[in-house]
């Protein structure tokens, strides 16, 4: 088992929570993990990324080399495109299609979707809508984690138990909403995978 994931988004969108869940689940599964984060100046509404590497053997580099990521998991469609050079051949983008517009020259969403559709079988997720259905618009990140779940190689139960641990302090309601969001994303992803 060896997977490199580029996590992408904008500061404040909760990609570090995604990383934290996968990280906990990986440790519980006795896997090796490396996961970089961005702190400091770039966080303020800027583009943020996290390199997440999970393996059953030793991992040396904290950073993913170009052309070797098995997945770009993004909570923002434009940000997914920024890291295309990292994507390995035959690998896919899993991204939310909800734009986060905080710059004037943000490209047209149709152009972004066209670029995304040019990549290998992308999983495009209406994350905000599913998050609202789950009970809280702020759980888009867990919807996206769910959408990625079938491709990560860690058991669903491990991921869900890690969600439980991460949100434990915020009470059982918050845990439930986040698990629901996760399942909605997972369901959508599985449906898309079975489509021709």
């Amino acid at each position: 088992m060896h997977i490199n994931i580029i996590l992408a988004g904008v500061g404040g969108q909760g990609i570090l929570s995604i990383a934290a869940v996968i990280g906990r689940a990986a440790l519980q599964s006795n896997l090796t993990i490396r996961q970089t984060e961005v702190h400091g100046m770039s966080q303020r509404g800027g583009a943020v990324q996290s390199h997440l590497r999970i393996s059953d053997r030793e991992i040396y580099s904290d950073l993913i080399a170009e052309g070797t990521a098995q997945m770009i998991l993004s909570v923002e469609p434009h940000e997914a495109l920024r890291y295309l050079p990292f994507l390995a051949p035959e690998s896919r983008i899993i991204t939310s299609i909800d734009p986060f517009v905080n710059v004037e020259n943000y490209p047209a969403i149709e152009d972004i979707l066209a670029e995304l559709n040019r990549t290998n079988r992308p999983v495009l997720v209406n994350a905000a809508e599913l998050a609202r259905e789950a009970g809280n618009a702020r759980t888009s990140n867990m919807v996206m984690l769910g959408a990625a779940a079938p491709y990560i190689g860690i058991a669903t139960e491990q991921l869900e138990s890690a969600i439980g641990e991460l949100f434990h302090a915020k009470g059982p309601d918050i845990v439930d909403i986040n698990i629901r969001a996760f399942r909605k994303g997972q369901e959508l992803s599985q449906t898309q995978a079975t489509e021709p």
Binding site: H39, G46, D62, A65, G67, L84, P85, N105, P107
Partner: protein
Amino acid sequence: MNKHLLLGAEAIALGALDAGISGVYAYPGTPSTEITEYIQKNSDAQEQPVRSSWSANEKTAYEAALGMSYAGKRSLVCMKHVGLNVAADAFINSAITGVNGGLVVAVADDPSMHSSQNEQDSRVYGKFAMLPVLEPSSQQDLYTATREAFDLSESVKLPVLLRLTTRLAHSRAGVERTLARMQNSLHALYAPERFVLIPQNARRQYNVLLGMQKELEKRSEQSWLNRLITGTGSRGVIAFGIAFNYTMEVRQTFGLDFPVLQIGQYPLPRKQVENFFTSCDTILVAEEGYPVYEELLRGYFGNQNIKGRMDGSLPRAGELNADIIASGLGIEPKAVMPVPDIVVQRPPALCKGCGHRDLYDALTAVMSSFREHHVFSDIGCYTLGALEPFNAIHTCVDMGASITMAKGAADAGLRPAVAVIGDSTFTHSGMTGLLDAINDRSPLTVIIADNDTTAMTGGQQSSATGSKLLDICRGLGVEEKHLRTIVPLKSHLEENMTVLKEEISYDGVSVVIAQRECIETAARKKRTKVAST
């Protein structure tokens, strides 16, 4: 699960706690902040207790850590690379006095300048001070090396510099803990011959330090942080610190078997390096940071068999990665997908609703009425005022330089001379500059953007805010009628402009404090309040 998922910075914190420190001293600075924050939040540390609140700046932090060591207890002091410039006086001289309780200084460098104004390499400081330097390459090694650094410090009676860089500081991995040990008991050292650095003592102590160098080299030779990864072929890599990770990654990815000499403890282990040199024809020197040891190994007239940052095999500036190391070893890069043309930059920006925005709106409007409209500024969130759409500030050099540079410009005849500085930066090293201006009666307006926190690094406690800042200004000698406060809000634009215009027009030292809490910390407080009710 007996592994903890920790940032490199946090691994240092846990290593230090388990080594039995009695205190951590620090001023926040990316990428070092999380070391101290981890200790502040750790329940064991709170129980013991381990003293951990923020210091006013890196120099006060370092000196307090040295004092704790003098008293016989172990102390950790943390800062970012440029913070070591501030603490340098204490740092260099503590190598002359030596220590009593273990003293470890953890310095996080920021190659590629993700959140900094330069990419200086702290290993140069380590050499300069002639102290042992540790540079582990993984989170687990950081934990273990930090623990052992305290033993090393107490054994050689010197401070130990622990150097790491952004990637390791801000990357998580599983870390296994070993049993925590007790703190030292109080046993202050009565040794004026060591600690009173008058010339006759300093000369003797300096000779002691010089005499220690052979011993330090011996420790490096024996250190597990320096080791040979055997291989085949006549080309080898000397990989320093985190460069080891990228080198091993290349070896693994491409199925190569070249020998690697990993360096994680300085001074250089001379024998190991010598042996490596005799076994290889060409050597790539991979260092994260300056080509400090490449330059040394090349010698003044150059050694053509050494490759690295100085001959273009690796880029001279910026952090390394596996792709760069591969290219340095002559491996052709494979074709990758390009970034689509439609992708635009998303630069960091002041938050929506941030008080700095309203301060800059008022200030820029006022400054536009003057022929010269230079604004000297400083380091913090408000530095983002240099970018579009504000373009409101025109300098940012080092902590506190806004006030002193504005003073110098005023001395040169520049009118008006305006400085913008945050509350935390003001207490870090702005206060002394303001005293200079008052003593000189320089025509200068200092605007203190008081958002009640150290915001850029994530909202740490600031040394003085609100009324305490006013008291400091009064105490330094700012006249009461030229010490004004405003509230940077859109609805106050007109009156704020009036205040700023009056004070900027005043031919003497004036201070305007713009008081409004950071919206991020305000929101965080609200969330915690809701959660606790």
